[in-house]
Amino acid sequence: MEKGVEMRGISKAFGSNQANQAVDFYCNAREVVCLLGENGAGKSTLMKILYGQYKADCGEILLSGKSVDIQSPREAIKMGIQMVHQHFMLVPTLTVTDNVMIGKETKNHYFYDRRQARQVVRKLSEEYHLDIPEDKLVGELSVGEQQKVEIIKALYHGAQILILDEPTAVLTPQEVDELFKVISQLKDDGKTVIMITHKLKETMAISDRVYVMRQGKMAGQCLTENTTIDQLSHMMVGHKISKTEKERFYSDKPVVSLAHVSLKNHEKKEVLKDITLEIREKEILGIAGVEGNGQMELIEVLSALNTNWTGSILFNGTSIQGKKTARLLSEGLSCIHADRQTNGIAMELEVPYNFLMGFWQTDEYTTNLGLLNWQKIKMDSRELLEEYDVRPRDIDRKILEFSGGNQQKFVVGREMKRNPHFLIAAHPTRGVDIMGTSFIHEQLMKLKADGAGILLISSDLDELLELSDRIAVLYDGQVMECRQSSAYQMMELGRLMGGRACK
């Protein structure tokens, strides 16, 4: 039988990162296929190749048995392939109708016929039970409704194959149910739906077939009815050799205590739900979870970049309510942010300036007259480059001239050198080579032994299991589970990260 869409032997590399390696994939009409995997597994890359945004290094794509060359999204759209991105391609100040129509406007002679457009949109909306008021401004819609507008748009532009990129990441449970109804409708109508996700429960609920990707390769493929959540999480996370038991020690004295902390984002969605956690001295608390489940918000709350939370947060025994970031930084907080290029460094400035970013809050580098002691700053910058093996060893270069991995080493080094009492480390070894990674791990253990508390956020389960004393799993803004890292089974971790609670 002819396959609707088939991808054979797809490989794609970005520099030294092999995002896809010899991946095979196919899907047919009247089918819902889930593409499952953790961050960096290669799912998005594969679909972006199908959608024409990237070009595969090798391999081929066949549509209905015929080999095709998809050069750009416009060509993909012409072939009926549409992608609903994680970040919506919608104009908030225009109506639903206008947003759907851009690029393929209904015309009356030379004019844009809004009345006809509204009818078309209303018809599509009703046909697929999307129930979107076509005259409302997109900016006034909820995120779930906006997603529906994207689907209407895709359908209007003639989509036969819909790729949904992490569609449920931003939805409430009720909205997820509604979305699944829509997906069923689309399937009955003869469309193909490919869903990129990391959520196990949803995969089981909606898909006909599942593909699991891991580290750029296709780890497995099966019919949903023939598999279980455990099997899937096993495939997702893989067989990891657990390292020898390290000595776990921590004191009972808490450095940071969160109690019933909740946070709503500006769309009024709860992104942190009743978080109660404690990070103690000499402890590394790891946060496991796929990106987008509340980690960023947790970091922002703890570093006072977001002050709209409710609940109680104590740092060194006193509440951080009302304190500004600079104050926390001078009281012993350090933060290795996840997005280093935005929050961690100033790209256009040279190394000494970026070094000073971590220290200007105290008078460590000011002379008696209150002036900056550049000699000392430069000396210590050089030392930092040396110690953390940041190349090239040139403090006169702007930080943007350094590679990503070296930038990361620099940021980690700077934050560690502050000798913090509490360190938030988000993806500390992202982009760093093996030597650098092991050095950073060593430093983290040293910091911990010196009495600091460390909050470690990472999508690398190996790293988490190796370094953390306890691991808390974050899913959808909630702490699913928090216990000694040795008490976790690999499969269990995968399940928790995918949203399935234990018993």
Partner: protein, 354 residues
């Protein structure tokens, strides 16, 4: 053996722009029926060839220096101060008023008082747009532009009525008392110590930016506002402080003209220094290099005046060059590309001839 490395990489873009502008200028000169050599040498002679020319150059450079510093300061923080014109007028007004209405003070007291008043006037006018932007989200470009017009009109009113010179038909105030007049730099010259004040200000600003924590915070905010916030900088406060400093510079531009060059406040004394300041700052970049770009533009203007006589070009040719320089600087990639292509082209011609 250790080699001494150049600490700062010199940005070539301004030089490409000036060179390209000179070439385009030569083309314009040719098109107007003149010889580029004649015109350019007239410019040089006009600026440097005589005592008068040099004085004119310094006179033109002074306000350009202050305005350039004002815009350069704002640019350090990632903002562009478009209200310099209004700020310099308010500074001029404040200092003139302090000079005229407080008679009988000794010079050592009166001059600093007037200068402080001028600084305050400019600072206030620069504070308003940024404050409105932070508090109410108002479009700071339009507010600054509107405030320019309001300031000019307000000064027009003040100079024609309350503070006007009854005995003069020109719209200007009374002469400032000698206690409020800046000493001259040379005898029998209009050039005052204002230019020295400007240079000193540039050095102070450069020092602040390089050596103080405040300067560091401003630089960081301009380079990456989110990174600055993440490292604890109060970015709103820094933006306000930066604009106040910027306003102080523009206010001083007006103050020095009033207290030094003209010794009174004359209606419309600024032929658009505020916008020229943008050209100076964009070409110069940092406080100390602004001194040089201000000197360049000052020399061009002084030389340009020589064009008024005997040629069919006028000083407006200089304005044209200024505009070209700004456009070339605004698109740095363009200047570099054109320059590179020209070099290749000339190399080819040389090869063919050789």
């Amino acid at each position: 053996m250790k080699k001494r490395k150049l600490n700062k990489k010199i940005n070539p873009a301004p030089f490409y722009s000036i060179a390209l502008a000179a070439i385009i200028g030569a083309v314009i000169i040719l098109a107007s029926g003149n010889s580029p050599l004649t015109i350019y040498s007239k410019l040089i002679v006009g600026a440097f060839g005589s005592g008068n020319g040099l004085q004119q150059m310094l006179l033109q450079t002074t306000p350009l220096l202050f305005c350039g510093l004002s815009v350069a300061v704002s640019m350090k923080c990632g903002l562009l101060n478009l209200g310099v014109e209004g700020q310099l007028y308010m500074g001029a007004l404040a200092s003139a008023a302090t000079g005229i209405y407080f008679q009988g003070l000794p010079q050592w007291l009166h001059i600093p008082l007037c200068i402080l008043a001028g600084m305050a006037g400019g600072a206030l006018w620069a504070f308003l747009p940024v404050w409105l932007k932070i508090k109410r989200g108002t479009h700071e470009v339009v507010t600054a532009l509107m405030l320019n017009y309001i300031a000019v009109l307000f000064i027009e009113f003040m100079v024609n009525y309350p503070m006007g010179d009854r005995n003069s038909s020109v719209a200007q105030t009374d002469v400032l008392p000698s206690s409020a007049t800046l000493p001259k730099l040379f005898i029998k010259s209009q050039v005052s110590v204002g230019i020295i004040i400007g240079i000193v200000l540039a050095v102070i600003l450069a020092f602040v930016f390089k050596q103080t924590i405040l300067g560091f915070q401003i630089t960081l905010t301009g380079a990456g506002i989110k990174a600055a916030a993440a490292s604890g900088v109060n970015v709103n406060r820094i933006m306000i402080v930066t604009m106040i400093i910027s306003g102080v510079c523009s206010g001083l531009a007006g103050t020095v003209e009033v207290m030094g060059t003209y010794n009174r406040l004359i209606q419309g004394f600024s032929p658009g220094y505020g916008f020229d300041g943008i050209a100076v700052a964009v070409l110069g970049g940092s406080p100390v290099t602004v001194i040089f770009s201000a000197l360049l533009f000052g020399a061009l203007r002084a030389g340009g005046m020589a064009l008024n006589f005997g040629t069919n070009l006028s000083v407006k040719f200089i304005t044209t060059l200024q505009g070209i320089i700004i456009l070339l600087i605004a698109a740095p990639e363009l200047s570099e590309n054109i320059w590179r292509k020209l070099r290749k082209y000339f190399a080819k011609i040389k090869k063919r001839e050789g």
